[in-house]
Amino acid sequence: MKIIDIKKVEDCFDGSSVFSYWFDSQWTEAAIGGLSALGRLEYFADFPRPLFRLTTPEGLHVKGVKGEDNCRVIYPQSNRAEIRQAFERHFAARQQNKPGGDQKSATQK
């Protein structure tokens, strides 16, 4: 998956930094599973539209829906630049490792 757009999300979720990331392809179970390299991944396969959420020890929160080409990312107040770089590097690395970058599939919670 390649990041093609990043938009700041304006809302009333106070004190955080919320972004919408857009990709050149949809979230598959393999792509979702790849996020487990970054932190604790939960995948809710039984939801009407299967949902995933990722939480990292550094305080990064990511969530999205299988089949969509975007996800919501919330960065913590501290070390935001480093955490953002690490998150975006994840997708750059997957691009370089194609094919076979998505070795790990999402597993149901």
Binding site: D11, D14, G15, F47, H61, I74
Partner: protein, 340 residues
């Protein structure tokens, strides 16, 4: 075919009728309730040391203009807390009135809990203390009666896009006949162009610039709908709100805030789901279940300390008279699923 003058006149007349305000020239048309509240708060000529009594249930559209005046001219602000039952603490309120506030600003209904404040007695006491009364009717107009005489409201801020079902970008401010606000927004009016200064007559006294005519045409249509809708509309909305709150309260793993059942409310419910942050739960409800809701502090930061939902706020569901009992059950099923 209606002219622009017809549209503006119709909006004033219908709003005046809804408010039981009599004279339509006391209705100033604005772009939203926030602008109305700014005109009211900034136009009263409050000075250093003047006391304003308001409540912890207010929206930032009241809190921030007041804080702006506190910072700029040194007014004093006192916030009425909630009592143990979740209502405005009337004992504290009455004690604050002893200090002769210039202004008392209260919202008709909380945008977080839906609880309707007992405005008529609060404003009666405020008037006896010599205060000007400002009602934020953003959450009530079109849903529960707003009678300026009955409530003893000198100033009423209204938004067009909530209970009136009009377009965004429309609002109004009622100004009682014996209240004169200073002008805080002046410019072109399309009338009395020969004058160097902005006209002083109501309502153009507070209106400058070109009206958003498509929006006000929409508001006029919405006001016609409010007048002609089936009488059961509001009762149905209230019933759906009770259905929603009772259902949420019964769910394991769900915390309903300000859960008291036997109080007057709009059809709003604020809650949290165990195991989910409010933001994540809102995302899941929207993205996975197709249920629109709002999360966070809802621009009303003070109430969350009082109801126990600070610092992250709540998930907020709002029922409409256009919803059905089946819609409510679907929403409850989604929350039950997330909580399981």
């Amino acid at each position: 075919m209606s002219t622009s003058v017809d549209v503006i006149t119709e909006c004033r007349q219908r709003l005046a009728a809804l408010l039981h305000a009599g004279d339509p020239t006391r209705i100033v048309l604005t772009t939203h309730a926030t602008q109305s509240l700014n005109f009211a708060v900034l136009g009263l000529g409050l000075a250093a040391g003047d006391l304003v009594v308001t409540t912890v249930t207010e929206h930032n559209s009241v809190l921030r203009p007041l804080q702006h005046l506190a910072d700029r001219v040194g007014i004093r602000i006192a916030y009425v807390p909630l009592d143990e039952e979740g209502a405005l603490d009337q004992k504290v309120y009455q004690e604050l009135l002893d200090d002769k506030p210039r202004l008392v600003a209260v919202n008709h209904a909380s945008n977080v809990t839906g609880r309707v404040n007992p405005v008529a007695p609060l404003f009666d006491w405020a008037k006896q203390a010599g205060a000007i009364t400002l009602l934020d009717a953003s959450q009530s107009m079109g849903l529960i009666p707003v009678d300026v005489s009955e409530l003893q409201a000198d100033l009423v801020a209204i938004t067009g896009h909530k209970g009136l079902h009009g377009p965004t970008g429309t609002g109004a401010l009622f100004v009682a006949a014996d209240v004169e606000l200073e002008q805080v927004f002046v410019g072109g009016t399309g009338v009395r162009s020969d004058l160097v200064r902005h006209p002083a007559d109501m309502p153009v006294r507070h209106e400058a610039g070109t009206y958003d005519m498509p929006a006000f045409a929409g508001l006029a249509a919405a006001l016609r709908w409010v007048e002609s809708r089936e009488p059961e509309y509001c009762a149905r909305e209230q019933e759906l709100g009770r259905h929603l709150r009772a259902g949420l309260q019964a769910l394991s793993g769900v915390t309903l805030f300000d859960a008291q059942a036997d109080v007057e409310r709009t059809a709003i419910a604020s809650f949290r789901i165990g195991g989910w942050t409010v933001e994540e739960a809102g995302f899941a409800l929207n993205a996975s279940y197709g249920i629109d809701c709002r999360t966070g502090l809802h621009c009303a930061p003070l109430i969350h300390q009082a109801i126990g939902s600070a610092p992250d706020g709540t998930i907020r569901f709002s029922a409409s008279g256009f919803n059905t009992a089946d819609d409510i059950e679907q929403a409850l099923a989604a929350v039950r699923h997330l909580a399981s």
